[in-house]
Assembly symmetry: C2
């Protein structure tokens, strides 16, 4: 891939595709694409377009789980396969906007008056999108409500968030998000928040809304406890594609973002990426470039580098969207393929001072996806040198790094967007959702299930059960110090490694379990 400057310019003119209708361009000229590759992939892409059409029409696109995949309907309800779904989407959007307007007007508030903060309690697909968008569009000068998050089951982490909220708990709205309504981390977060509200003499339900599927445990609880409101999630929206459902749009509306513009950006990008002409379809171009980089069995990492502080969390969002969708053991024919694309990256120019050394000189095991934002934002123009601003430098560092990588045989894609706006955020989300869908079709996998996550959850639940057995055994032997093998035997299980780990954890946290190593052997007991 050694090209002269003239050849680079020629390739750019040929393989940089601009989509002025949505203010976006996809440049694959720094990938080793050529016309022959476009031709070669065309039949597979045509199949991919057809499968996306079927999916959007309501076909069961997630065969294992026997589910429709309907996130595209969220931004164009007219496409819904049934009138019921269409009306539900439309009504829910109206309800959310009404709700946010009432919160902003103070018609709905907390015990301390108008809501100043929201605390979103969710994890994975119920937090990554909201966090990305809160950071991409948030601004202390314009935010109507400040966002806070519980996105884990770490009690210390939650304590810290509660401390930051401080005395404003009575002006904080909890938004509890769990599609299934049974996610343990979210349940735990909700219980800890509830405890904090009650410790402050507040009625939790009067400060909480739920986003969940109808009749889930969370839905029932919110109903019984008279929470402020319940918003629906649907079976046909997957967690990692739920940002444009209530999961993402309610927090966005609360923070004061233009939710309709987000939807508009996504809808326009959906429209464009339905094109069956590959060079007129930015999502197809992305999926084609990904396919190229690993020859369909991608073993290359994707390093996502937005040159924009606001987009710093996009790579975290994409880690879920891309890796959970594409990281699959089996293909649709049941053949073992171990697919996947690993996503990493934070933001440019910052990351150049972190790991560009390895990208340029070390393992050539990646391709970069640069995101260039043309319009800098609303601030004043401050010159740092004659004719040069700080934002010019940001562009210069992007161009310089792209060049230094390419000249050392490292490939990259550039996505250029006009401005850091609500429209762009919707557009980027829709672009990658479609690229993932098309790519999955190219490599013949189901992008909409996640069979690999159950084993870890099951094992975690076994650990919790074992802890109960250990506590029972130690209680029955109160005052005695026992070896791990002895405790293991009392539990009737064979997981002695877990027994040791659990006892170590309990003894470190004032749970009445003490640890003794005097005999040269570790022993635990309830004292």
């Amino acid at each position: 891939m050694k090209y002269t400057k003239e050849q680079k310019w020629e390739r750019f003119q040929k393989y940089n595709f601009e989509f002025p209708s949505i203010g976006l361009a996809v440049d694959v000229s720094r990938m080793s694409v050529d016309d022959a590759f476009f031709d070669k992939l065309e039949p597979q892409l045509q199949k991919a377009y057809a499968s996306m059409t079927a999916l959007e029409g309501g076909a069961i696109a997630n065969p294992d789980e026997n589910r429709m995949v309907g996130h595209y309907w969220l931004r164009k309800p007219e496409l819904s396969p049934t009138p019921d779904i269409r009306v539900e989407i439309q009504d829910n959007l109206k309800n959310m906007l009404d709700f946010a307007a009432k919160v902003h007007a103070g018609q709905i508030g907390g015990a301390g008056g108008k809501f100043k903060n929201f605390l979103l309690i969710g994890i994975g697909g119920s937090a990554l999108g909201p966090q990305f968008v809160a950071n991409a569009l948030g601004d202390p000068r314009t935010d109507k409500i400040k966002p806070f998050f519980f996105d884990n089951t770490d009690p210390d982490g939650m304590d810290r968030v509660l401390a930051a909220l401080g005395k404003e708990l009575n002006q904080t709205l909890c938004v509890v998000v769990s599609k299934s309504g049974g996610t343990k981390e979210t349940r735990n977060g909700m219980l800890i928040a509830k405890h904090a509200y009650e410790a402050s003499g507040l009625d939790f339900g009067k400060h909480a809304v739920a986003i969940t599927m109808k009749d889930s445990d969370l839905d029932k609880l919110a109903k019984t406890d008279n929470w402020v409101k319940r918003f629906p999630m649907w079976d046909w929206v997957g967690g990692r594609t739920s940002e444009l459902s209530a999961v993402g749009l309610l927090p966005a509306a609360l923070q004061g973002f233009d939710v309709k513009k987000i939807l508009e950006g996504a809808a326009a990008t959906d429209e464009l990426t339905r094109s069956t002409q590959t060079k007129k379809n930015p999502a197809a171009l992305l999926s084609l470039a990904w396919f190229l980089s690993g020859n369909g069995k991608v073993t290359k990492n994707m390093v996502v580098l937005p040159y924009k502080d606001r987009l710093e969390l996009f790579s975290k969002y994409l880690q879920q969207l891309v890796m959970e969708s594409l990281g699959k053991a089996l293909n649709l024919d049941g053949k073992l393929v171990n697919q996947g694309i690993t996503v990493l990256g934070n933001k440019g120019a910052t990351d150049q001072h972190s790991y560009i050394q390895q990208l340029r000189d070390g393992l050539n095991d990646f391709f970069a996806v640069f995101i260039e934002v043309l319009k800098e934002g609303s601030g004043k123009t401050i010159f740092v040198e004659p004719d040069i601003t700080s934002g010019d430098y940001l562009m210069g560092f992007y161009l310089g790094t792209r060049e230094a990588l390419f000249d050392n045989d490292r490939e990259s894609i550039t996505i250029t967007v006009s401005e850091p706006s609500a429209y762009t955020v919707g557009s980027l989300i829709a672009l990658f959702e479609r690229a993932v869908g098309l790519y999955a079709s190219l490599v013949n996998i189901n992008a909409y299930h996640q069979p690999g996550v159950e084993a870890g959850k099951k094992a975690a639940s076994d650990v919790m059960q074992l802890q109960k057995l250990i506590l029972k055994a130690l209680t029955e032997n109160k005052g005695k110090l026992l070896t791990v093998d002895e405790i293991g035997k009392l539990t009737g299980k064979t997981e002695n490694e877990w027994v040791y780990k659990i006892c170590l954890h309990l003894s470190a946290n004032q749970r009445g379990i003490s640890q003794n190593r005097d005999s040269g052997q570790v022993k635990f007991g309830l004292v």
Copy 2:
């Protein structure tokens, strides 16, 4: 790697190494290590220990740059190769602690009184460590000063930070950090901060301190403009190992952390990791496990998963420490090796809801490094089920995921630490610094230079020069619309692709350049 539960427990007892003196354990039982591998690597490890001894004694360990590598002296100045260096380290620590104490007491303050915030302006090694530590130890209940960061050259990003500081600029201390004193992003950030202070009628110098090498441009500026104070950086401390120099310790002291405990944790870990008995050296165990995972030519990604919110930024910190140190084209004999270990990860259990699907089922191209923190923190114990806390779940999810990965042939290391404390933070930093040094020796590379980053900086500087030529050409042709080829020709250069990109960026940002596509061809002009 299919083991019974009994075999797992046996392996754990054999290959989990506990270091009670520093409250840390390294478990490599879930890597495919065996005694034969330890034996095989022993001669190489002995060479690695010897090279670390030479390095700590002041040998030129960075031959390209003819520099000593002295970050180990920072936590044990007695080890310094000369009395001058020893005294400098000791004096500087005393100066920093004095300075922080005066700031906390209000003896040193801003135009608006006592400093309530600091704004650290730095990038890469001058920001990643401070950001990691600020988040690891920070707490709204105990922080003496609130931390803010400019870590990029994005003007919009900086505007947002300034907006968050709002009217408290007169109580905000700027800490400008650049070892060389010539980093453009930091220079730009400093100029933008200065502009904001002056726009508020404040004397910037009275609200700023510098951390930089003696006589650097930044040092001279700070001296001329009478900044509050200047703290030294030294030639023999690399950016990515500078966290325990003024770069990291001054912000830590300002935020109110126990800086001496951080140093103590690092010093004790240094002491332990000087052991030439591999099984008594936690850093050697780490480097051995890394080596194993890729057979010395590591092509596996390292997924860092601390099960602790406070440690979420550790993987970002490690991206620089590991990738910039190990991502090298040539080995010390000048042979092309393209080494490196790619680092990614955020935190558990959160990431389980993001990409564990791919880790378990997709590409087996990684090993995980779990970080387990035994003591949960200072909060109240809240039970989410009988006998079970939210923190128990955090442990359960770690154990469950480790199990689910291992049972599907995915390897992991676990580092267990006692508590999330200043001591632990120092210890973890020292542990990985040493592991990187030892690993570099195992694969025979220079871990202390970064020859690959210059090309991108040089190209960025060429872009800035080209922009000046373009603006000159357009000014001389004011009122005319020109094609990219025409503008390129006027600059006398051949980078037309850059010409197009620069013009696009200028025209998007009200810089007097307009864009016209009426003729079907894009033209730019100064109007």
